[in-house]
């Protein structure tokens, strides 16, 4: 627990406290009166109301749409399932600038819905909600579906043999087992949408603003640090409250589960009902996820001389991009992969150690630490980025111009994923298995290795995949600290979009498509590794 604690103190708590302190301290004294001042402003109250409302609505909508998907991915076998599971995770890591572009194309004028039924959603709050579902679909599918696929279906079958109806069996057996995962997923989605930045900024326009957007505006644009500090504290409190609630529900519902190899629980759909369900989910994925992604691909190929690879060829040279970069934009892929690998490594080490410590010990302190580990998800990237700048500027931690800053910031966001993915599985390991091993003469550590490790290996890989994916797509903090000679993919896309001209726009689309492919391939590789090893269970 010491390593993760030090890591978080140094790279999270210290920078955030420092930047909040800048805003709330005047002449060395804390000015807590500013909290009341800011919170009584009607425009700030509007922001608070909208933030909460849209997060609740987005979470409900995401669960509604994605839970059937989680079931289908967990229980059904169908051709192309692995590919599709990788694909639905891709949105999660795309830069929001790009997603905004895709969604405007889909929901805006001349878009798909417009041409079909004359419906335009680009100026309504529906665009924000749907984009949030697009982004978070994978969170539910992976968190809930991951556990679901490991639940032994025979337990539900046994209940039915004993006379329970289909619904009752599901409600009594599967639902309680699934509840922590559903709660975890809902919490994640709520957190992401509560702190939503890019999507709200682009699709919401200047009229709608979340706390996170407002913090960005106040800090980066207006340099109104007091207001930003107060808003950061409010967001902190809200996120902390949600996390505490979550910890409470999880503790109440935590049960020891009998986990099985997912390969044995999935089978091809049978009967009209199951096929219709599968069809419905596939259609949802097609409309909600593949279509926006398809729009990007289409635009990246649509050169003035007809469809072709012109924009992709232009990515290879620095000159073709009109020296927007000192290096060919294609190099950004290498940079992104390198950064993301280092970030994943850090996140796995820190998150893995934290998760292990959390399962081994109990008590109030540990529970507090659990919640603390989630906080980086709820703190705005701009706060962290600026915090890094003003704190990590003295030896031995003078990192302001070092490349490691980028993976560090990315790992900060990755760690909660690692912890969240590992914890439920680690906690669900049947203590009796360890006891059995001990009875058979294994030392406690050997029991952990022989019992826990094979069971959590899958979770570890999923965690690595998530950490890698969020690192690849992380934009908010990276853009503040990325070095110009080593732009990451999202930063490169944003820079290209910041220029007029067909070639720049086309290259931005081409680079986004490549980012999408890199993510899909990484995730696909991960799915492969996972299945190959499943035989060891």
């Amino acid at each position: 627990m010491a390593v993760p604690a030090v890591f978080f103190a140094l790279f999270f708590a210290y920078p955030v406290v420092a930047i909040v302190g800048r805003g709330l301290k005047a002449d060395g004294a804390w000015q807590f009166g500013r909290v009341g001042e800011v919170l009584s402003r009607p425009d700030i109250l509007d922001v608070l109301r909208f933030t909460t409302w849209q997060a609740l609505a987005s979470t409900a909508l995401t669960l509604l749409i994605a839970l059937p998907g989680a079931y289908v991915f967990a229980r059904f076998d169908f051709p192309g399932k692995q590919l599709l599971r990788a694909v639905v995770t891709v949105p999660f890591v795309l830069p929001t600038v790009v997603v905004g572009t895709a969604f405007l194309a889909l929901l805006g004028r001349g878009g798909f819905l417009d041409e079909l039924w004359g419906i335009r959603l680009d100026t309504t709050v529906w665009a924000i909600l749907l984009a949030h579902v697009f982004f978070n679909y994978a969170v539910v599918v992976r968190t809930v579906g991951g556990l679901w696929s490991q639940l032994d279906p025979r337990q539900e079958e046994a209940a039915r043999v004993l006379g329970a109806g289909r619904l009752a069996a599901w409600r009594r057996v599967t639902l309680p087992a699934l509840a922590p995962a559903v709660a975890a997923a809902a919490l994640m989605v709520f957190l992401f949408t509560f702190t939503s930045f890019g999507i709200v900024q682009i699709l919401g326009g200047p009229a709608y603003s979340t706390l996170e957007v407002e913090i960005y505006r106040q800090t980066a644009q207006l340099l109104d640090l007091p207001t930003a500090a107060v808003l950061t504290l409010v967001q902190f409190a809200a996120v902390g409250g949600v996390l505490a609630l979550h910890a409470w529900t999880v503790r109440r519902r935590e049960t020891v589960l009998k986990l099985v190899d997912p390969a044995t629980t999935a089978r091809p759909p049978r009967g009209a009902g199951q096929r219709a369900l599968l069809g419905g989910v596939l259609l949802t994925v097609l409309l909600l996820i593949l279509l926006p992604l398809g729009v990007l691909v289409e635009r990246s190929l649509d050169t003035s001389g007809g469809y072709g690879l012109g924009f992709y060829r232009a990515l290879q040279s620095a000159e073709a991009s009109g020296s927007t970069f000192l290096v060919p934009p294609l190099d950004a892929i290498g940079n992104s992969l390198r950064y993301a690998l280092v970030a994943t490594l850090i996140a796995l080490v820190i998150g893995g150690l934290a998760a292990a410590a959390l399962t081994r010990r109990a008590g109030r302190l540990v529970r507090g630490f659990d919640a603390l580990l989630m906080l980086p998800l709820g703190v705005s990237a701009v706060t962290v980025g600026f915090g890094f700048l003003i704190t990590l500027d003295e030896p031995p931690l003078d990192l302001r111009t070092s490349w490691i800053l980028v993976p560090l910031a990315q790992a900060l966001v990755g760690v909660p994923f690692v912890v969240r993915t590992m914890l439920p599985v680690l906690r669900a390991v049947d203590e009796r298995l360890r006891e059995a091993a001990a009875v058979l003469g294994a030392s406690p550590l050997r029991a952990r290795r022989e019992v826990d490790l094979p069971l959590v290996r899958r979770a570890l890989l999923v965690a690595a995949g998530f950490a890698f994916a969020v690192s690849l797509g992380e934009f908010g903090a990276t853009v503040f600290i990325a070095r110009p000679d080593n732009p990451t993919l999202p930063v490169a896309v944003a820079r290209l979009l910041g220029r007029s001209g067909e070639l720049n726009y086309g290259q931005a689309m081409a680079l986004s498509t490549l980012l999408m492919l890199v993510c899909a391939v990484s995730l696909l590789v991960l799915e492969r590794i996972r299945t190959d090893r499943s035989g060891e269970f």
Binding site: R109, L222, G305, L326, A494, G506
Partner: protein
């Protein structure tokens, strides 16, 4: 040692290793290229739009012996605010990119050490807004203007608008898209343009009318230009439907330069009566480790060589009188004779207030 302990030990070592490595990487930087005293590297901090051709940067190294290292950090406002936050222990030696709309914020925070760059006599007098104290040196100017989609107006047999008042005419209802003045620098420039032409009392009235005439406000330039404006390459693909957008006077040449094949005429035009002039400045950062290098770099930024390289890299205009514009600019660009301006003191005093009332008037 059993395996689990080994895992933990390796993990710990890896975590520490990464931190130590980071430390090393950093000290390497310092030894080989950081901006220490007598160092041969000079660090320029700027926003994402900064660009200079390789040849020009090499020429600087050849002339002075200093190598330029560029740190870009976000858009212009964010980059400047980062400098203010790290004031006194800056990441570089020279900052480039404080414009006249934000200049007061930089100066009030004492960001710069005064230095009169060599060659200031060749720099246009109306750009030297800090001529007495020389805390900042003007480097370029750019005009924020309404751009129009030529094809749209040709098809409709309608003349494009040419002044702020034109934009209120019923013929141009629902055609204009602009950016959020609170967060986007062209958005703010356009707002200041209306303040300049309609006065501190009249601009609110102007915006009420503009709103009634269907102006659309989006968050940033990227979205306005690439998604809403029908004249840009991105907008064509997006089937955008607004033929008027707030952008830059240099946008049409850029549309030509980055088209393949290059057209003989720019697809977009500039309403030259709707322009607000932006002036960008550079200054020697207070606490710079390489002051001598920083001064040399400031001299270089207003040298003819850099000034003539600038237009095609940053799409801005030189401030030096003897610098020649590239053919692309003279052929496809617009000449703005009388751009709107607001006195820097006025901007400093009222910027926040103007933006606030604009927000409540137009956005909410």
């Amino acid at each position: 040692m059993n395996t689990t302990t080994k895992y933990a030990a390796t993990a710990l070592a890896a975590a520490l290793g990464v931190t130590v490595l980071a430390g090393c990487g950093d000290s390497d930087d310092k030894a080989s290229g950081g901006s220490g005293a007598g160092s041969k590297t000079v660090t320029l901090v700027s926003h994402d739009s900064f660009n200079a051709s390789d040849a020009v940067l090499k020429a600087f190294t050849k002339e002075t012996g200093y190598t330029v290292k560029v740190l870009k950090s976000g858009d212009a406002g964010a980059a400047l605010n980062q400098e203010i936050l790290t004031k006194g222990s800056p990441r570089g030696d020279v900052f480039f990119g404080a414009d006249n709309t934000l200049l007061s914020r930089a100066l009030d925070n004492g960001l710069f050490t005064p230095y009169a760059a060599k060659g200031l006599d060749r720099v246009a007098a109306d750009t030297q807004l800090d001529a007495e104290k020389h805390r900042v040196t003007p480097v370029d100017t750019g005009d924020i203007c309404v751009n129009y989609d030529k094809k749209y107006f040709a098809d409709k047999k309608l003349d494009p608008p040419n002044s702020f008042d034109d934009l209120l005419k019923p013929a141009y209802k629902n055609l204009l898209v602009t950016e959020n003045a609170a967060t986007s620098s062209p958005g703010l420039g356009f707002l200041l343009g209306t303040v300049a032409t309609h006065g501190e009392n009249g601009y609110q009235d102007y915006w009420k009318k503009l709103k009634n005439n269907g102006v659309k406000v989006v968050e940033g330039w990227e979205q306005a230009y690439n998604e809403e404006f029908s004249g840009s390459a991105g907008g064509k693909k997006a089937k955008a439907d607004r033929p008027l957008v707030v952008s830059y006077a240099s946008s049409p040449p850029v549309e030509v330069l980055y088209a393949d094949p290059q057209p003989t005429e720019a697809p977009t035009g500039v309403a030259t009566g709707t322009c607000f002039r932006q002036i960008e400045f550079a200054g020697l950062l207070d606490g710079a480790k390489n002051e001598a290098g920083g001064k040399a770099l400031l001299d270089f930024l207003i040298s003819k060589r850099f000034q003539e390289d600038m237009p095609l890299n940053m799409f801005v205009n030189p401030v030096v009188k003897d610098a020649k514009l590239p053919e692309l600019f003279t052929k496809f660009g617009a000449t703005v004779d009388k751009p709107a301006t607001v006195a820097p003191d006025d901007i400093a005093e009222n910027r926040e207030q103007w933006v606030r009332s604009w927000s409540s008037l137009v956005v909410k």
